[in-house]
Amino acid sequence: MAILKTTRVSRQFGGLVALSDVSVEVMENEIVGIIGPNGAGKSTFTNVIAGVYLPTSGKIEFCGQDITLNAAHEKCHAGISRTFQLTRPLVGLNLIENVMLGAMFGKNHPMKDARRESMEFCRFLDLKNIERPVSAMTALEIKKMEIARALATEPKLLFLDEVMAGLNKDETMDMIDTVRKIHSQGMTIVIIEHVMRVIRELTHRVIVLEWGKVLCEGTYDKVSCNPRVITAYLGEEAEC
C-alpha cells in the first residue's frame, strides 16, 4: 500500500520551476532513494513534502489523506519527519533537549514521558552523555541527534536528506547500519543521497530527478543502467 502519493506536484520560486509535475509513490516499509544532480529538486521535494514550502500545484496524499496544504507542523503530526541536508542543531538546547523537542511537539508527550522516550532513542542511536551542549558534539553525533529528533516524533515516514555527506568511510558504514536498524523497526524511509554506494546498499527502489522532473524510477540496477541517467548524472561518477 502506498503510504505517500504525490500527483503532479509542482513548485515555482518566482519564475523558476524547481519541481514540475512530480508524481511518485512510496510504499509502506520501503526504502526509497532519490538521486539527481545538483539543483535537480531533491531538497525542494523534501521541503514540499515536509511542508517547509507549499506546492504551487498538485496533490500530496499521505496514508490516504490529502495533506497538500497542511503546514509543516501539521505534516509532522500526520507522521512525516525529516532531517536536513546541512545539520541544523538547536544550539540553545542540549543533546537530550533537542531530541525531546520532537517527542514533545511531534508526538505531544508530556515533558516527563518525552524525556524518557528521548533517552530510549538516544540509546538506540548510541548517543552518550546526553546533557552535552551542541558545541561539544562531533559532526556524526549531531547527525545522529537530528535523526533521533526526527524519530522522536514517531513518524510513519522518515526523510533522510544527505545524511552521509561529510562523513568518512567508517562513519558512513556506521550510518548505513543505523539506517538499517531504523528500517528493521518497520519504518518507511526516503533517502536522498549523492553517494551511490549508499543508495546501492540501502534502497529497494530509486527515483531519479532532473530539472525538477522525474527522469526515471526503478531498482538501483535498472536505473543505473538507464542511458539517460548515465548521461544526466552518473557519467561523472560511473559507478555502474
Binding site: 511542508g51 517547509v52 507542523h73 509532522c76 538547536l90 540553545g92 533537549e97 520532537g102 514533545m104 511537539f105
Partner: protein
C-alpha cells in the same frame, strides 16, 4: 550548591517583605519604579526568548493604564478590578494585533509594534472620551495612596511576572520558544506550531505589560497620552534587560533593580547631568560585560567551579 539557589530566593523574598518596615515613603516610591521596570523588562525578555524583539512595551502599558483609569473614572470600579480589566484589554488587543503581525520577523516586527503603540497614543490624544491631550484625573489614588499597600501591589505584580517567567523556563513553552528562536524550520518540522506559541507568549507578555501600566497609573491617579505611552517605557526596560543579561529570569530583574535605583541616585547626586553619567554607565557596561551582569556572574561561578 543546589539548595543555595532556593535559599537566595528565600532571602530575597524575606528582604523584600521586610522592606516596607524599614524604608521611608520616598524609597518605597522608588521601589514602585523598580517593580514596574522588572515587570516591563522581564516580560520583554520573555518575548525575546522566541526571537521577537518588541518595541511595544509603551503601547501595551499605555493601553492597560488608560483602560484601568477609564474604568475607574467612568464606572467607579474598584482599582484592583480596573487593573485586571486593563490587563485583559491589553491581552485582547495583543491577540488581535498578534494574529496579524506575528508573521513578521526581525526589525519589521519591532517597527510595527512601535507603530501600534504610537497609533494608540494618537487615538487617545484625539478623543474626548479619553480626556484628549490633557488626560484623565482620578479622584483618588489606589489604596488612598497608602504606600505600603501600593508597595505590596507592585511587588505582587513583579513577583507574578517572575513566577510566570520561571514557569515558562521550566515547561514545554521553553522548548517551543527556544526552538523558534534558534531555527523556525527545525521547530516546525519537529511539530512545533510556531504561530500558536508566538501568539501565546505575545498575549501573555502584553497582558503583563498592560497590568503593570494599569497599576502604575492607578498609583498616580492620572493618565496622560505623553506619560502613559512614553517611549521611555519602551527603551528603558530594554536597556535594563540587556544590562542584566537577556535570556534569563534574573538578568532583567537585576538589571531593572540596579539601573532604576542608579537613575534616582544619580539624579540626587548630579541634578543637572545625571543622564550623562547614566549614558556613560550604559556604554561602559556593554563594553565590559557584553552578556550582562548575569553573564559576568556565570563566568565567575564557572571559574569558581573549575
Amino acid at each position: 550548591m543546589k539548595y543555595s539557589k532556593y535559599l537566595a530566593v528565600l532571602v530575597l523574598f524575606i528582604v523584600a517583605a521586610a522592606l516596607p518596615n524599614y524604608l521611608g515613603l520616598y524609597q518605597l516610591q522608588i521601589m514602585n519604579f523598580v517593580f514596574v521596570y522588572i515587570a516591563f523588562a522581564l516580560s520583554w525578555d520573555m518575548l525575546l526568548r522566541s526571537g521577537q524583539l518588541s518595541f511595544g512595551i509603551a503601547g501595551f502599558a499605555g493601553i492597560g493604564g488608560y483602560t484601568s483609569v477609564l474604568c475607574g473614572y467612568n464606572f467607579a470600579l474598584s482599582p484592583i478590578l480596573c487593573i485586571l480589566i486593563g490587563s485583559a484589554v491589553a491581552g485582547i488587543v495583543a491577540l488581535f494585533v498578534g494574529s496579524q503581525v506575528l508573521k513578521l520577523r526581525g526589525l519589521y516586527f519591532s517597527i510595527v509594534t512601535l507603530a501600534i503603540g504610537e497609533i494608540f497614543r494618537v487615538i487617545v490624544r484625539n478623543l474626548e472620551v479619553t480626556g484628549a491631550a490633557e488626560g484623565i484625573l482620578l479622584p483618588n489614588a489606589i489604596f488612598m495612596g497608602n504606600a505600603t499597600k501600593t508597595y505590596w501591589l507592585m511587588f505582587a505584580i513583579a513577583t507574578f511576572t517572575i513566577i510566570i517567567s520561571i514557569l515558562f523556563q521550566k515547561t514545554r513553552i521553553y522548548y517551543a520558544l527556544t526552538s523558534i528562536s534558534n531555527d523556525e524550520i527545525v521547530a516546525a518540522s519537529s511539530g512545533v506550531n510556531i504561530f500558536k506559541y508566538l501568539v501565546i507568549i505575545f498575549v501573555v507578555t502584553s497582558a503583563i505589560q498592560g497590568m503593570a501600566g494599569a497599576a502604575y497609573w492607578q498609583i498616580y491617579a492620572s493618565v496622560t497620552p505623553e506619560g502613559a505611552f512614553n517611549l521611555g517605557f519602551a527603551l528603558l526596560p530594554i536597556t535594563m534587560a540587556l544590562f542584566g543579561g537577556v535570556g534569563t529570569t534574573w538578568g532583567p530583574v537585576i538589571g531593572s533593580a540596579i539601573l532604576s535605583v542608579t537613575a534616582e541616585y544619580l539624579k540626587l547626586q548630579f541634578p543637572h547631568g545625571h543622564l550623562l553619567v547614566y549614558g556613560f554607565i550604559m556604554v561602559a557596561a556593554i563594553l565590559w560585560f557584553p552578556s550582562g551582569i548575569m553573564g559576568v556572574f556565570k563566568q565567575f561561578t564557572a571559574k569558581f567551579n573549575t
